[in-house]
């Protein structure tokens, strides 16, 4: 009980500074969130297509083809993390489990890129099934601006995490690609959903968001992961999150939380 009271205390304290004012732009934001749906469907659809190709390549024992398909599927998934982090975080355990690669992308990555094995049909089949279900659900799933802001902020914070150990996709050597796709996902969500509304409400704050996204893009444009300026990355990531947190009240939204269950 003490721990729960403490949890409440910390959340109340961090939320205390926030005013959620009714926003005239609420409807416009909801419309904008709807425009994001096409992007999410495309991203998950791309991941699904890649996973299907991967399954076929695995069946044909085509290692090179399977690796290529994995990379394609992975890119679609990472681009969509604003959506997945905000709306279906529970799928992470099935699709993106780490480090225990019993299922999902990293299980397949370990076999393809690590052990040079193609016996991933079962795992690829499960990946196809999960992505297929998600793809279908996406058509009717309510996409609230709040959920998308939550997802944007969570992903912006995650981008700033150290990859000095090689990152999550260290076996395929594509952790930097993950980061770039994450930043692309953040930028798309920002431009599609929030940019116009925030420019209208607080142009200076909107400029600050764009400045930080540009910084993230510049840092992740490094030629490879070892040359990423970790300090600049963290700074840009955290400043972007803080700026988006400040923007939430201007957008008539609640202060975004950094973990799905902690609202």
């Amino acid at each position: 009980m003490i721990a729960k009271r403490a949890a409440l205390t910390v959340l109340l304290l961090t939320l205390a500074v926030v005013h959620v004012a009714p926003s005239r732009a609420a409807d416009a934001l909801a419309d904008a969130a709807e425009r994001y749906r096409a992007y999410a469907i495309e991203g998950i659809g791309s991941a699904l297509a890649g996973a299907r190709t991967l399954r076929a390549c695995a069946a044909a024992k085509d290692l090179a083809g399977a690796k290529k398909a994995w990379l394609s599927a992975r890119a679609g998934w990472e681009r969509s993390e604003v959506f997945t982090a905000g709306f279906v975080p529970e799928l992470d355990a099935q699709i993106d489990a780490w480090p225990n690669a019993d299922s999902g992308f990293h299980a397949i990555e370990a076999k393809l890129f690590g052990a040079a094995r193609t016996d991933v049909e079962r795992d690829a089949g499960a990946l196809v099934q999960h992505l297929d279900e998600l793809h279908a659900r996406l058509r009717d799933m309510p996409l609230s601006p709040q959920g998308l802001l939550d997802g944007t902020v969570r992903l912006a914070y995650e981008v700033g995490e150290s990859k000095a150990d090689g990152g999550e996709s260290r076996i395929s050597g594509t952790s930097l690609d993950d980061m770039r796709n994450n930043v692309a996902g953040v930028e798309f969500a920002w431009r599609t959903i929030f940019a116009d509304a925030l420019h209208a409400a607080d142009a200076k704050l909107a400029d600050q968001v764009e400045e930080r996204i540009a910084q993230l893009k510049a840092v992740t444009a490094a030629p490879d992961l070892p040359h990423v300026d970790v300090r600049a990355l963290r700074r840009a990531s955290e400043e972007l999150v803080i700026t988006l947190q400040a923007a939430s009240s201007k957008l008539g939204l609640r202060r975004p939380t950094l973990e799905a269950q902690s609202r």
């Binding site: 721990a3 355990a93 990152g167 992961l225 803080i242």
Partner: protein
């Protein structure tokens, strides 16, 4: 020593090194996209960490100077670009001011616990073209242990620290105040207390017969040269050193290392060639023809173990991490009103990095090797992330000259860190990597994934 004996010794050492090399595990640094070579072992996943005892806290409290030094010591930003990108700080090797027996960098180490400070990885200009790694020493009691360096080449600790930063790790010229602070911090790290040691380095308390015999042997003149004994160099005293360099048959002149807390300082010798006291005693018996019986050797080992002991050598759990973080953050009490952007930035970057690492001790839902406590883990992670952001807000505010805003955020930080954060972390601890079972399961999963990579190579 005859040529055959020498050859045998070299072969044995090579075999030992080879065996140890194979024991090195391929995590946590891995992949071909890392600043440090694949299979680098930093031991950052260790369940427990060496306990740090500060002299100033015994007599009063740590000064701001010492805390600033500790902060800089823990910050990659005072080192060069490669170290910064790899997240390496002084603290990486000297964990809580002790050593790091598992530290291993392929190409720069020949065994866990040593490192080539004149290799090319961190500063190509310092590369001497030879793989000549030296043991990573503990810094406990460093103020008693001049001269500095394994060969005692520098009389001044300040000069030694400067050389490490600028030459070994290609860091920028440190501000004099930062250099002073690091020296003050290192000089404040005490030996762990050892109740088995009395005045003048004599055994005290409950002493076994074997330890007593070992103590006598330690001061017994060597047969071939009665002017020498173990105690001639390791003078029984507060530190068991003579501040001199000697040739003990290990390939040159090296300074006498302390025996205080040495139970926790393996590997031994300047290059870390020995893992145990047994090996060390056997070496001296052989090189100095001491004629020790098996019992004599056991007695000497018992004695070394007794004088090398220390109370509570390790600490574990989030509490220790939070204490250090709060110590660092306390520098903001004066840095914010003073508008000291450099200290604020150093504190925010360093503490933020440590908080992000602490966050990963509470696995998220992607880590299916952990079951239960999902809500508690999420709350702990969310709270720690909020603290990271609170600190960044302080950095931003000070950078923009908004010291009043920074001060308000700092008050909020202190309020949260006083009770709410420790309580949230405590409620999640049983599902965190501070729990040995969860820890082992998590790293076993990681190890399995990494092994798949190396199976194909």
């Amino acid at each position: 020593m005859s040529f055959c004996q020498l050859s045998g010794l070299v072969a044995a050492i090579a075999l030992l090194i080879g065996c140890l090399h194979q024991r090195v595990l391929a995590f946590p640094v891995d992949g071909d996209q890392t600043t440090l070579p694949a299979k680098t072992e930093l031991n950052e996943d260790a369940l427990r960490r060496p306990r740090e005892v500060f002299h100033s806290e015994i007599v009063g409290r740590r000064s701001e100077l010492i805390k600033l030094g500790n902060l800089a010591f823990s910050s990659p930003s005072i080192l060069g670009a490669v170290a910064q990108r790899a997240g390496i700080s002084c603290e990486t090797c000297h964990v809580n001011g002790a050593g790091n027996a598992k530290f291993f960098v392929p190409g720069m180490s020949t065994r866990p616990g040593n490192f080539d400070t004149t290799g090319a990885l961190f500063n190509p200009k310092a590369d001497n073209g030879a793989l000549d790694p030296v043991r990573i020493p503990s810094l406990r009691g460093a103020r008693y242990l001049a001269p500095y360096g394994n060969d005692g080449r520098m009389a001044s600790l300040r000069d030694f620290v400067h050389n490490v930063i600028v030459n070994e790790f290609a860091g920028p010229e440190p501000q004099p105040a930062i250099l002073d602070a690091i020296v003050a911090y290192i000089q404040d790290i005490d030996f762990l207390p050892n109740p088995s040691l009395g005045p003048a380095g004599r055994l005290a308390g409950q002493v076994s017969e074997s330890e007593r015999r070992g103590e006598a042997l330690f001061s017994k003149p060597f047969a071939h040269d009665p002017s020498l004994s173990c105690a001639t160099c390791h003078v029984p005293s507060a530190a068991f050193v003579d501040h001199m360099q000697h040739d003990v048959g290990s390939g040159g002149l090296f300074k006498t290392p302390t025996l205080r807390n040495a139970d926790f300082n393996a590997p031994y010798f300047h290059d870390g060639r020995f893992d145990t006291y047994d090996q060390v005693v056997a070496h001296f018996d052989r090189v100095f023809e001491l004629g020790l019986s098996a019992q004599d050797q056991k007695d000497l080992v018992a004695y070394l173990t007794a004088i090398g002991d220390g109370l509570q050598p390790y600490e574990q759990g989030a509490g220790a991490a939070l204490k250090e973080i709060n110590d660092f953050a306390s520098l903001l009490t004066t840095a914010i009103p003073a508008g000291d952007k450099d200290v604020v930035a150093l504190a925010v970057d360093t503490i933020g990095g440590e908080l992000r690492e602490l966050t990963e001790r509470y696995p998220d839902r992607k880590d299916t090797s952990v079951s239960g406590g999902e809500e508690q883990r999420a709350n702990a992670r969310a709270a720690l992330k909020e603290i990271v952001l609170l600190l960044r807000r302080i950095d931003m505010a000070v950078g923009e000259g908004r010291t009043a805003d920074a001060a308000a955020d700092y008050r909020n930080y202190r309020h949260l860190m006083a009770a709410a954060i420790p309580s949230l972390l405590a409620s999640a601890e049983r599902w965190s990597l501070f729990n040995a079972t969860v820890h082992d399961r998590h790293y076993e999963a990681l190890r399995q994934v990494m092994q798949s990579r190396h199976m194909s190579q």
